[in-house]
C-alpha cells in the first residue's frame, strides 16, 4: 500500500471460527497512503471493479461508499495476530477476520502453515477440570481436548486442527497459567 497505482492483495477471509475461511484476490487502485479520505476503485476476484469513496472517521473506523452503498467498517488488529496484517473487521453487524498477503509471498504460505507438531496451550489461567482425549487419539478439527474452569465457568478447549494427540501435559485438577502447554498435536 505504498501509493502505487494499483495494489493486488491475496486475502484470507474468516468468520468467527478460525477454521472457516475463504480466499480472495483484491485489487485496489492507488489509495493515497496516510491520507484521511480518498476515492479509488477496487475489485474482488473476477467481479467488475467498483468505485470506492472512503473516509477515516477515527483510527480503525472507516466509512466506505461502494458505488452509493454505505458501509461502516471497524478494523482492529486481530487478537493473537502474529503478523501485522491480520485484522478483525466488523462491517455492519458482521464480523470477519481478514489476513492480507502480498501475492508474491503467497506461494508456499499455505504449505508452511500447520506443519509438524503443535502445542495447544492454555488461553487463560484456570483449572483443568477434565481431559477428554488420550495420547495416540486421532482428533478432528474443533474436537474438544480438555475442560478448563475459569471466570466462574467451565470451558471446553477445542482442537485448532485435525491431528493425533502426541502428548498430554495437563493433569486433571491442576491449575494452569496462561500459555502453559496442555496437549501436543502431531500431523496425521
Amino acid at each position: 500500500m505504498k501509493g502505487r497505482v494499483a495494489t493486488k492483495l491475496k486475502v484470507k477471509l474468516g468468520a468467527g471460527h478460525p477454521n472457516s475461511t475463504a480466499e480472495h484476490e483484491i485489487e485496489i487502485g492507488s489509495p493515497a497512503s496516510g491520507a484521511d479520505a480518498g476515492e479509488t476503485h477496487c475489485r474482488l476476484d473476477s467481479e467488475s471493479p467498483i468505485r470506492a469513496n472512503w473516509v477515516r472517521i477515527a483510527p480503525g473506523r472507516y466509512s466506505i461508499l461502494l458505488g452509493n452503498r454505505s458501509y461502516e467498517v471497524h478494523v482492529t488488529p486481530a487478537p493473537g495476530a502474529d503478523g501485522a496484517r491480520e485484522y478483525s473487521v466488523k462491517v455492519g453487524s458482521d464480523l470477519y477476520r481478514v489476513e492480507l498477503h502480498d501475492p508474491r509471498a503467497w506461494k508456499g504460505h499455505r504449505a508452511s502453515e500447520h506443519k509438524g507438531p503443535q502445542d495447544v496451550s492454555a488461553p487463560m489461567p484456570g483449572k483443568v477440570v477434565k481431559v477428554l482425549v488420550d495420547e495416540g487419539d486421532e482428533v478432528q478439527d474443533g474436537q474438544g481436548l480438555l475442560v478448563i474452569e475459569a471466570m466462574k465457568m467451565q470451558n471446553e478447549l477445542r482442537s485448532p486442527r485435525a491431528g493425533r494427540v502426541e502428548r498430554i501435559y495437563a493433569t486433571e485438577g491442576a491449575g494452569v497459567e496462561t500459555g502453559a502447554p496442555l496437549v501436543r498435536l502431531a500431523s496425521l
Binding site: 495494489t7 477471509l13 471460527h17 489509495p31 483510527p59 487478537p79 489461567p125 484456570g126 471466570m151 470451558n155
Partner: protein, 508 residues
C-alpha cells in the same frame, strides 16, 4: 450504577465500595464518595461483611443497598447492617431466611397449598420410589437429595425404566455424596421460566408488577429476558401474581422480590423459589409498568408506604433485555476479558442502556463477565424485537469478544420470533449455529433485510483492512506502553494475579 442513578434523581448522596482492581470502575467514578475495602478476591472485599459494614459506618452512611450480586441475599449481612445502626435496602432478614433456601421456600408454598413442581423427598428404597412415581405420574426426574451438579440424576419416561434408573441414581448418589437418598420431581417438558415481581412496604401492603419471561438461559444463567411473557394473559398473570403475593405475606416480606415459576405447555405454573433482592432483569418490568423499582426500594426502606396500589399497575407495550457479556459465542462462550478499545451504544427511540463499563476500561478476570445491559421497548413484542435487531446492529464494542453476535442469532430463530420459548431453546440455537458450514460466517444476514450483497460488504471490509494496513496507524484505544499484543498482556497480568474469584458483580 443503576442504584446510584436512582439516588441522584432522589437527591441522595452515594458511597461506593471498591476492591483494589476496581479503582477505575465506573461505580467509583460516578459515586459521590468511594471507600476501598480490600484486594480483588471477593472474599476479602465485596463478600466481606465486616469490611463493607465498617466502610459504610466510617463514612457516615445512612443506608446500604446491596445491589444484586455478592451479599444481596445474605441475611447475615442484612442483620450486620441493621446492627451497625444503618438501614438495609432490602427485605427483612427473617423473610430472607424463610425464603432463602429452595427447600424452605418450597415447604412454605406446599404448606399454603400453592402449586409447586410435584415431587417426593426422602425416598429410601424402590418401594418409596415406585409409590412416588405412581402418585406424581411419569415422566419424572430422580435426583440425589444430598447434592447437585447433575450427579445422580436420571430421567424416567416409562415405568419399566424406573428400577434401573433408581439403581443407577442411588448408587451414583452414594458414590458422590455418601448418601443414597433420592428425591423425585415431575419432569416438566420444555418448561418456561416465568417470574413475578413483587413489591411491598413495612405495613403489609404487597403488590405484584406482572411477570418476566426468563426462559432464555445458558447453563442455568439467564441471558435474555422480556416482559410481558408471550405465554401470559390477564388471567394467568393475575393467578401467578396472587400466588407470589400470598407467599410474600406468608414470609412477612417487604421491599422488592421475585417469585420464580416454571410454566408447562398447558400453562400450569409451579413455584420454584424466591429471589429476595433486585434482579438483574428488573428493567423490563420498569419499562412496561413505568415504575422505578430502585426508587421504590429506597422509599420502602425509608419507611414510606407504597404509593402504588395493585390497580395502578398498568402494563403497556413490551420490553426485552440482553445481557452483554465479555464472552466469545464463537468459541463456546469462552471468557474474553481485556481492554475495551471501542464502546458505542445504540440510541434513539425505545433504547435503554445500563452499562457499567467504558472505552479504555479493562474488563478484569476477577468477576462476572457481565458488562452492560441493552433493554429495548416497543408498542408490542414485534416492535420490541425489531428494535432489538436495529439496536444490536448499532452496538459496537472493540477490543474483546461479546455475546452480541449470539443475540443476533436468537433474533433469527423462528421459535423466538413466535414467542415459543423454553429453557432449552438457547442450547438448540447454539447447536444450530454450530452446525453451520465452515467457510460460512457465523452471522449470515445483515439483519435489516436490505439485500446488500454479501461479497460487497466483504469487499468494504477488506478495503478498510488494506487502508488500515497502509495507514501505519495503531487502531483503537491503547494503554500506555501497550501495542498490538495488548490482548496477550491482559492474559499475562491475569496470570500474575493467579486467582479465580468468580462472583457475580458488576454493579450496573
Amino acid at each position: 450504577m443503576r442504584v446510584m442513578r436512582a439516588c441522584r434523581e432522589m437527591g441522595i448522596g452515594t458511597v461506593a465500595v471498591y476492591s483494589e482492581v476496581d479503582r477505575r470502575s465506573l461505580h467509583v467514578r460516578y459515586a459521590d464518595e468511594a471507600v476501598a475495602i480490600g484486594p480483588a478476591p471477593s472474599r476479602e472485599s465485596y463478600l466481606n461483611i465486616g469490611r463493607v459494614v465498617d466502610a459504610a459506618r466510617s463514612i457516615g452512611a445512612e443506608a446500604v443497598h446491596p445491589g444484586y450480586g455478592f451479599l444481596s441475599e445474605n441475611a447475615a449481612f442484612a442483620r450486620a447492617v441493621a446492627e451497625a445502626g444503618l438501614t438495609f435496602i432490602g427485605p427483612p432478614p427473617e423473610a430472607m431466611e424463610r425464603l432463602g433456601s429452595k427447600t424452605a421456600a418450597r415447604d412454605l408454598a406446599v404448606g399454603a397449598g400453592l402449586p409447586v413442581v410435584p415431587g417426593a423427598q426422602d425416598l429410601h428404597g424402590f418401594d418409596d420410589v415406585e409409590q412416588a412415581a405412581e402418585r406424581i405420574g411419569l415422566p419424572v426426574m430422580l435426583k440425589a437429595a444430598a447434592g447437585g451438579g447433575g450427579k445422580g440424576m436420571r430421567m424416567v419416561t416409562a415405568h419399566e425404566q424406573l428400577k434401573s434408573a433408581w439403581r443407577d441414581a442411588s448408587s451414583e448418589a452414594y458414590n458422590a455424596f455418601g448418601d443414597e437418598t433420592i428425591f423425585m420431581e415431575k419432569l416438566i417438558e420444555r418448561p418456561r421460566h416465568v417470574e413475578i415481581q413483587i413489591l411491598g412496604d413495612r405495613y403489609g401492603n404487597l403488590i405484584h408488577l406482572g411477570e418476566r419471561e426468563c426462559s432464555l438461559q445458558r447453563r442455568h444463567q439467564k441471558v435474555m429476558e422480556e416482559c410481558p411473557s408471550p405465554v401470559a394473559d390477564e388471567d394467568l398473570r393475575r393467578r401467578m401474581g396472587e400466588t407470589a403475593v400470598r407467599l410474600g405475606h406468608l414470609a412477612g416480606y417487604w421491599n422488592a422480590g421475585t417469585a420464580e415459576f416454571l410454566v408447562d405447555a398447558d400453562r400450569n405454573f409451579y413455584f420454584l423459589e424466591v429471589n429476595a433482592r433486585l434482579q438483574v432483569e428488573h428493567p423490563v418490568t420498569e419499562l412496561v409498568t413505568g415504575v422505578d423499582l430502585v426508587k421504590e426500594q429506597i422509599r420502602i426502606a425509608a419507611g414510606q408506604r407504597l404509593a402504588i396500589r395493585q390497580h395502578d399497575v398498568v402494563m403497556r407495550g413490551a420490553a426485552i433485555e440482553c445481557r452483554i457479556s465479555a464472552e466469545d459465542p464463537a468459541r463456546d462462550f469462552f471468557p474474553s476479558p481485556g481492554l475495551i478499545t471501542a464502546w458505542h451504544m445504540p440510541q434513539g427511540p425505545g433504547v435503554r442502556n445500563d452499562s457499567g463499563v467504558y472505552e479504555g476500561w479493562r474488563v478484569p478476570l476477577d468477576y462476572d463477565p457481565l458488562m452492560a445491559k441493552l433493554i429495548v421497548s416497543g408498542r408490542d413484542r414485534a416492535e420490541a424485537v425489531a428494535r432489538l435487531g436495529r439496536a444490536l446492529e448499532e452496538y459496537e464494542i472493540g477490543g474483546l469478544e461479546t455475546t452480541i453476535p449470539f443475540f443476533r442469532q436468537v433474533l433469527k430463530n423462528d421459535d423466538f420470533l413466535a414467542g415459543r420459548l423454553d429453557t432449552g431453546l438457547v442450547s438448540r440455537i447454539i447447536a444450530a449455529a454450530g452446525a453451520d458450514q465452515p467457510g460460512q460466517r457465523v452471522d449470515v444476514s445483515s439483519g435489516n433485510g436490505t439485500g446488500r450483497l454479501t461479497t460487497e460488504a466483504q469487499l468494504a471490509g477488506i478495503l478498510a483492512a488494506a487502508l488500515e494496513a497502509g495507514s501505519g496507524a495503531v487502531a483503537g484505544v491503547r494503554e500506555p506502553g501497550a501495542n498490538g499484543a495488548g490482548e496477550a498482556s491482559a492474559w499475562k497480568r491475569a496470570g500474575r494475579d493467579a486467582q479465580l474469584n468468580n462472583w457475580p458483580k458488576r454493579n450496573l
